[in-house]
Symmetry: C4
Subunit: 208 residues, 4 copies
């Protein structure tokens, strides 16, 4: 079993993250799902279909690293496996956020499937953990959308194994996944990614 106090702390972080992300317009219409690691084996995650700006304690549940509900009859997000494979692969990751912004949706549709977005020469690349200069390349893959989450989770983990410095990924027409060692770091990554996507989209607008 998991430690209840640790669960409560993580649940509260998820609730606060939801207020921020919904307020920013990045989790509309009950879209998105959020999670945080309780311990090596247990993950706190949002229950399916909740309003992300008004999460309450009962809207957070626990799953194991295979995505199975722990001590709960609730149904976790349909995309639970996309979260758990990241925790399984990356032991230092403490939080995973899936958001659903207009910009991520549009960019992932406007670019060809299975292409990558490459951020270069942006100072804000330094907001990603381990990046200390704007002079590198920051690569964000776009995966095709599917309702077969098992297949998508396998695809994503395969990619992340080969690209250990990948800061996040998009799903076509569906939004963004990113992660961090703490919820605060993960939220910083969301903000940085949304900023960079906004810049890329704006470049497309003025060049069109």
């Amino acid at each position: 079993m998991f430690d209840l106090h640790k669960f409560s702390l993580r649940a509260q972080e998820i609730i606060e993250a939801g207020k921020f992300l919904y307020g920013a317009g990045w989790s509309p219409a009950t879209s998105s799902n959020y999670s945080a690691r309780i311990d090596d084996a247990n993950i706190a995650i949002t229950v399916s279909g909740k309003h992300k700006g008004r999460l309450q304690a009962q809207d957070i549940m626990v799953v194991d690293l295979q995505g199975r509900a722990v001590a709960s009859q609730m149904k976790s997000s349909a995309e639970t496996l996309l979260h758990t494979v990241i925790y399984d692969l990356k032991p230092n990751v403490g939080a995973v956020l899936h958001t659903h912004s207009v910009n991520a949706t549009v960019l992932s549709r406007a670019l060809r499937p299975n292409t990558e977005i490459v951020f270069e020469d942006y100072e804000l690349q330094k907001a990603f953990r381990g990046v200390y200069t704007h002079e590198g390349r920051c690569v964000v893959p776009i995966f095709d959308n599917t309702q077969d989450i098992e297949a998508l989770s396998a695809l994503s983990v395969e990619y992340l194994k080969e690209h250990s410095d990948c800061p996040g990924y998009l799903i076509r027409g569906h939004g963004m996944y990113t992660w961090g060692e703490t919820m605060a770091e993960c939220l910083r990554h969301v903000e940085a990614m949304e900023f960079l996507l906004a810049c890329e989209l704006e470049m497309m607008r003025i060049k069109s």
Copy 2:
């Protein structure tokens, strides 16, 4: 007569919806009108011409399914019939929201009259009741604007009879109508529709 307690509950939902929708910029300058079902025969609806972000109890009145004021000398929205025909046609509908965003206005003017907007391959289509995959087509018709609300209500109900899965419609240069079984569901539909319209408009910007 209607049950007064049920009226008060629905009126409060409308007031709260107004705060949200005005705050989102979707009901500016006293535009828009909102309603909620009290029972089989009575509908709570906004009085004409009120500031939608600051509705008070006295700004909500009751009409029957023919749009006639019940127990009131107030004047309901000029578009009352557009609401009541939906309640009449769809017994499960508990709320109808008409909003008036820049995006809905611009898209409905930019596209040819009597065309439809088709959403495809958006994960957020799943925010609409009864949609479980992004792989279907979600069709939103655009009706020409007119001050003859009786004609427009007949046109809309005709369309909805033939397209029972239609999640909402636009009126050219005028805004959007959507509905739901509860106010919460109806608000989710507004958010989803505005998100999808924003995406479509953005695609037009970067392709132009």
Copy 3:
């Protein structure tokens, strides 16, 4: 002299209007100026150069219809005459708001000088006093900017005499003027005008 209680009521309306307009992004960087009629001869108006989101009672002063300070050593806005000529010409006007949005600035620069913006087929035209259908034309002139406010006030009043149904005007690169019988009506006109300008600009974006 003016009635002090009436002054205080109007000053409070101006303070509240400033909070709203600054919050909407329409009065940045101490731009804009606002006024409200106290009586036939006296106008409450903002002191020059104040932060419009944080106006206090001492930031509102009184001028006569010739724009001269009344019972005050303060300096009213450089554009005071643009306000007072409207009160002088239109006895029913109770409030005048000058705002300074990005959209008004860009549109007034993008269009040729001394052209007009024409709103047609927008339902929201009905937000302007005296308009009961979207089927008419709503014309907003654009005047060239100048630091010679006396000349500009003469030009504006000349135009308004000939176009009594004009709902507001733009100054090139400088922002918008609109008015109403009450502050509430004037704020509705600002919202409607900004909505319609946003729509026009969006049409230019997707057509470009």
Copy 4:
């Protein structure tokens, strides 16, 4: 040593500025850094890597005009020298703000390196200290980004010596620097600059 009371006043101004600038979206993901002059020799400045919307007293430190920490083991922003050279050059400057908006980032990347942005015929140019008409030219240089802050600070101060009326500058892909005699004036300059950048970008959108 510096006067502790004066430090506390400046630190509080920086904290409040951060709330505003983060709220406006101009300092996302721990980007940006802010400073305020305590006296001829000491500058209050943000500690490196903090969330700018939630600064606390312990997130503000003191550096001298050479950028060396005073009475502190904390690490000030990597860009500290870009602040201190301005205080050193301009004795009347009391505050320097570096912000990091999408608009500044995109414009600085879209325009050729080592070009200038020229604002002309904008009424809002009058928001900059010493500007009394829209009829002048307001020139904002764009410097190439580099992690060599010493070189960039030398370049910036060279430029500012030759252009004493320059209201601020951009760093390519990195954001904006501006300054003022007080924090209030500096914030007005940020707002004015962001407004003018937004206008310029919008012109590029509708012309593209």
